[in-house]
Symmetry: none
Subunit: 249 residues, 2 copies
């Protein structure tokens, strides 16, 4: 009996429902968009050209698993029968009497659960019809340039899938090999080396400006947050530029 | 003269830079993706099939303003010469010695400013090369399904543009006294000065290591994000250390 959250508390990924999609190519592109962000469950409502569609595979660019698992339904109601939450994606509409959320807000709500969510996308040309939207409890609208709203089906899918993926483990930035800044004493050693060279070159003039100049240089060289390796590289550069450097023995 | 004045405190929208794009169709799709989220400044570095490209217009689906304003450059350095922040979009890479951020983090940083940002996108097949990435201070990576990463150029552009657009409705953060990083051409001038000095000092040896050494130096000197004033200070330091500097008249 562990106190940690049980796996059953994890909300299942949302189902993507393409309602009366027209081109097989766009179904394939939507599948590709989904799999990029870890969504695999695709449902098709009355695809215009039937299913399977030979144009879908090439457009999926390898997201075959999504197409192979795709299920076909005759109506929106059938497609979302097992879902607790239904979202309809639309452009801005007049007379909407349902809550309208952004993809980000929808993703948060889907993660919060509980229960499986479905997200409806309309046909390429016309979008969802009023009867389709009526099935949904919530409308998702991508905030878009009011003077140029031209999202295609796969782009709408990818934005929703992308937002959903942020709540997943996969959505963490990759670990980098970025080194921490060098310890302060290494920084001080580098600054002292430069200081000695500049002193020898008559850089600190007039004398009453020297403290301010030294502060400026320290600020300049502290800002980068150079790593130990980078500090060594800078010191190598300084040695190469040093007139007192014994060259050729 | 009906446009409302833009407060100077607002950071300008980022520039989208397509580096050696191959297909005109993809340039058009990228333009469409941009305009959906309010980005209009497109720069092309050495597009494979020249510019203008007759395939771009139809794919832009009406985003002609972006294509009409697109500028062509011969090199990445030229394309970002006036930009204070350069981001390179890449897939996961080993041995990265620059900060890696998500599109969301990049968008936040771009809004925080100050100074104009450029975002580099590589050719469709191969992505950005090492020398392209070396120009950037920061890497942007879309966290993606580790078992299926298949974003095309326009999809990468739309995710970045979408994230940027989110910050548009928000109150802009208070202007800070922080100076923006120097424009890239000032950085390049400083690097060229150091390079010439090091070349004269016999630093670049052996010759087959020179390209890697130059990249290391560029990364080192790009990291600080030095302001114009700071770049001038560094150049003053370099001049003081230069053996060819005429001193005492």
């Amino acid at each position: 009996m562990s106190d940690s959250p049980t796996p059953s508390a994890i909300t299942p990924p949302p189902v993507i429902v393409l309602v009366r999609p027209q081109l097989g190519e766009n179904i394939g592109k939507a599948a590709r968009a989904m799999l990029n962000f870890g969504l695999v469950e695709l449902r098709l409502v009355a695809p215009r050209d039937g299913w399977p569609n030979p144009s879908a595979g090439p457009a999926a660019s390898g997201a075959d698993i999504v197409l192979d698992r795709a299920q076909v339904f005759e109506s929106v109601a059938d497609a979302v029968a097992d879902c607790a939450h239904v979202y309809a994606t639309t452009v801005r509409k007049r007379g909407v009497t349902k809550p309208v959320v952004t993809p980000e807000q929808a993703a948060d709500a889907i993660h919060a659960g509980p229960g499986r969510a479905a997200i409806l996308f309309g046909p390429e040309r016309s979008g969802l019809e009023t009867d389709d939207v009526a099935v949904a409890r919530t409308i998702v609208t991508v905030p878009i340039n009011p003077e140029f709203g031209s999202l295609n089906l796969a782009q709408a899918v990818i934005l929703i899938a992308y937002e959903w993926s942020k709540g997943q483990g996969l959505a963490s930035p990759p670990a980098t090999d970025l080194e921490p800044p060098a310890p302060q004493e290494e920084l001080d050693g580098m600054i002292a080396q430069l200081d000695a060279m500049l002193d020898g070159a008559g850089y600190f003039f007039p004398p009453d400006r020297t403290p301010a100049t030294r502060r400026m240089l320290r600020t300049l060289l502290t800002k980068p947050g150079w790593s130990s390796q980078e500090v060594r590289s800078v010191r190598g550069v300084l040695s190469a530029l040093s007139p007192r450097r014994p060259r050729g023995g």
